[in-house]
């Protein structure tokens, strides 16, 4: 997971919001979570 992956997550999240729905990200691995946290997105994306 790199910045391109983060871009895909943000884009999906924002498109879902526009359609009044949401993207839920499940079973996030430790390494991916680390990158999400580095981007300060853990409170913005829906992680389960």
């Amino acid at each position: 997971m790199d910045s391109s992956g983060i871009s895909v997550l943000i884009e999906s999240h924002q498109k879902a919001l526009e359609k009044n729905t949401k993207v839920i990200i499940k079973e996030v691995s430790k390494s991916v979570l680390k990158v999400i946290m580095m981007a300060k997105l853990e409170q913005i994306l829906n992680l389960e």
Partner: protein, 143 residues
Amino acid sequence: MSELAHTNHTEKKDFLVRSSSLKDVRSFCREVFEKLHIDQSLKDELVLAIAEAAQNIVKHAYKDSPDTEDKMVVQISCKENKLQIGFYDMGTPVDPGKVKHREIDNVKPGGLGTFFIQQIMDAVEFKDGKKPWINHLVLTKQL
């Protein structure tokens, strides 16, 4: 930290300037970091920073030449627990003053590669590229 990490160790490899080379860049770096016995967590971070820097060469320095046959070189050196990663390319000259990441609170796709590099590394320096190189980026991390 391993014994090897205390010794001088340098490896370099060239890669075609293509997004498809990034997998090989990551593999090369992982192999070198394994020899240096760098722990998994730091290894993941370093590989991320390196992949972002290599991606920036493809996306920005070679923005107008997607089908180039040019190669970029990644050099990893470890000396007295100081890790230096050098990137050499022959693309469009980089203006260091224009290399900025987006505001982290302005959530939108893109603009995070440089932010990740800065978060992970201790220093990010653009040096003068000596012929035949145009750009020479050096990332430094104290181990």
